[in-house]
């Protein structure tokens, strides 16, 4: 009983430390709030607003933003079928996040796991993995997507699959290159002298050193994947209407850019804010996770970065 209490207290102490470090970097704090909002929208939005988001109102076609006469839902305007933009964006957050997060996480986990194997062992598997990566890289990703999605149903899961496969080599190569360098460092040698198992060396000594790089790449990739998804939607093999994503909304608004800019602008803004927040947060995380750098945050966050 005492043990669980103390571990609970330790847990709470850790959370407090994280919040304190987050508060020290105001940009990262803001970014965290934005991302929290996006996640809440993705989780709760479709439950309450999916009716609103698909209700057509032909008298309100391309209704301009900031007019309250049609109600609060129309504050950001309406699209070419008169559907209110605000609830549509909130509902679209779910698919967008599902595709982007799914693809990024899948490719990161698979890619870095393969990269760790390829970098750490000197066996033939390392060669096999690297050539596999080369094959994926040399194959045009859009062509792969077209073939796969033409043969399979263009569902969220399949899009995640396609996007994940095409992004794997990036993590694979980065991880392998870093592991090759870290493996030769003295503290890894010291661990080997101690008799440490390979698994422990990889996960306790090598992975934490490689991780910040991977997270930075992943946040950059997040934006790329969201845009790739919208270009698939544009070709008609991505998310199919009436399902919506931010990327799809941008491409649907494109023909009306000259007379109704808000159709593409708001979802575009959401995309930018999300990726920007992710970048800011990953920069903060890189510092907060590194004991050598952490003082920058602890001393009050005057000079971070």
């Amino acid at each position: 009983m005492i043990q669980t209490n103390s571990s609970l207290a330790k847990e709470r102490g850790r959370l407090a430390t994280v919040l304190r470090l987050l508060w020290a970097d105001k940009f990262a704090c803001f970014a965290a709030l934005v991302l929290l909002t996006v996640v809440l929208c993705a989780v709760l939005g479709p439950i309450w607003l999916s009716d609103e988001a698909t209700r057509q109102n032909l008298r309100g076609r391309n209704a301009p933003p900031f007019e309250l006469e049609r109600g609060l839902m129309y504050i950001l305007g309406a699209d070419q079928l008169g559907r209110p933009l605000l609830p549509r964006m909130i509902v679209a957050a779910r698919n967008t996040m599902a595709v982007a997060a799914g693809a990024v996480i899948c490719s990161m986990v698979i890619g870095s796991a393969l990269g760790l194997v390829a970098g750490y062992t000197r066996s033939r598997w390392s060669q096999v993995i690297m050539r596999l990566g080369d094959v994926i890289m040399s194959f045009p990703s859009l062509l792969l997507a077209v073939i796969v999605l033409y043969m399979l149903e263009p569902s969220v899961a399949n899009i995640v699959l396609v996007l994940a496969i095409t992004r794997i080599p990036i993590y694979l190569r980065t991880t392998r290159a870093e592991v090759l360098e870290v493996r030769e460092r003295m503290f890894v040698q010291a661990a080997r002298v101690m008799g440490t198992s390979d698994r422990r060396i990889v996960f306790r000594h090598i992975l934490p050193v490689v991780m910040p790089t991977l997270i930075t790449i992943a946040t950059l990739d997040f934006a790329f994947v969201m845009l790739a998804e919208s270009s698939l939607s544009f070709l008609g093999i991505g998310i199919q209407p009436p399902e919506i994503t931010w990327g799809l909304m941008v491409s649907q608004g494109r023909p009306y850019l000259t007379n109704a800019w808000w159709l593409s602008f708001w979802p575009g803004l959401a995309l930018i804010l999300t990726t920007l927040s992710l970048n800011l947060l990953s920069a903060w995380m890189r510092i907060a996770l590194d004991p050598v750098q952490r003082w920058r945050l602890e001393m009050g966050g005057r000079k971070n970065g």
Binding site: M186, F187, R192, M194, G195, T196, S197, R200, V209, W295
Partner: protein, 543 residues
Amino acid sequence: MAEHLLEVRNLSVDFHTAAGTVNAVRDVSWHLDRGETLAILGESGSGKSVSASAIMNLIDMPPGEITSGQILFDGDDVLRMTVAQRRALNGKRIAMIFQDPLSHLNPVYTVGWQICETMHVHHMPDDQARARTQELLRRVGITDPAAAMAKYPHEFSGGQRQRLMIAMALAMKPDILIADEPTTALDVTVQAQVLALLQELQQETGMGLLLITHDLGVVAEIADRVVVMNQGVVVESGNAAEVYRNPQHPYTRRLIDAAPGKGDTREERDRQGEPLLRVEGLQKSYGGFHALKGTSFTIMPGETVAIVGESGSGKSTMARAILRLDEPDGGKVVWKGRDLLAMPPKELFAIRRDIQMVFQDPTQSLNPRMTVFQIIAEAWIVHPDILPKARWKERVAELLVQVGLHPDMARRYPHQFSGGQRQRIAIARTLALKPRLIICDEAVSALDVSIQAQVIELLDGLRRELGLSYLFIAHDLPVVRDFADRVIVMKSGEIVEEGPTGQIFDRPRQPYTRALLAASLDPDPVVQAARRATRQSEGLVPA
């Protein structure tokens, strides 16, 4: 006419860091005359390089700031000059060479091009520059200078590269040559050659030589006058021999006392009985290069065996082969009657505990993302049978006290410690496994002299308390003299000579051992002068 060629007056430099303002040097004054060698002696962090950086305009501002003082070169204050004026001075009238010549030579240009460039910058026509380059290379002792000009830096050895740097620095016949730890990265024999070259060149050209070093031996070998610095302040200055014989400041006295190689050698031990470790015909080659050519030796329980040799002699390869960090190609390593090399992985794992290693650079051998507690306790995660988890905290505290650190330090990360403290942590980590034999691979060579003495003392104390044996790999002979029972001298993968420490140092049999001993520098200028004379007369180290 100015009084001195170069004079630094009351120089103070601050660095504004996030942790507050650091006074790198405070109120430092010294001067350098033509044809004179001045050594600035100090340990890391003493600010010995800062005044030289200020002269060469190498201090980044911000975070650095020169708060007061003057640097007079031929009577003109360098600090008040325009950027263009200073650029005209740098390289032409004041030149500098650095510790690590490889990182200061550009790898993508030929050596000839790089030396010529210095002269091009100062407006010398190309054909003249090339002729002068060739002449310079010949002067610094590079064979076949014409061919050498077309080569790239990686095609030269460390000593040759330092010669190239010297040639480059001398290109414009400077009045002053600043040498920042010019021989620290070099082997002893090469060090002696490079110092001899510097001295010759100085006598030839009459330039002023400013030498920045941490090594009392280098001061004894080459300096006329010495300035001793500690924590940003000049504590003592004067004639080099005078300062050594009659140090005034307590810090100088401490520094001189800490210099290794003065005490008595250990008494010879009885080597009867079963050895702890027996290495037989160990071989290892990398491609066509034979790093170890079948070496054999033994270590008795409680004995300290030192392996000395220059870089490339195979001494580190030996350590790695014994631990099977690199699989050897042939031979036997017998530990308590069992061959380690023929052992299945499981039994080897159990024996891993008994043989541990302390690495050269503690900054790299400790995982920067783990706390000291995690680093030390990892030993018990890997070998759970040593200690139950409940006692970890207590034992870590014990170990930290044993290596001379405070138990509260367990929560800190490696970067919060100094180099010497980090090496203590590394030693505590090896002790956590209760080993019988510790292999020290250049374990003290990255440390300052006074810290070095402390770590050696720690290791020696642990040997007496715990009955440990050491395999002590070093290039630094004086350290070995104080610490080892037996010495093995290695050269290109073979053992040249082996014997008790007293015998090797006082009655060396092989010419190579004699050359190595003659090349090592003694902190006493008088002893060093005598040694230099014998070296020249016997021709042991061709300059």
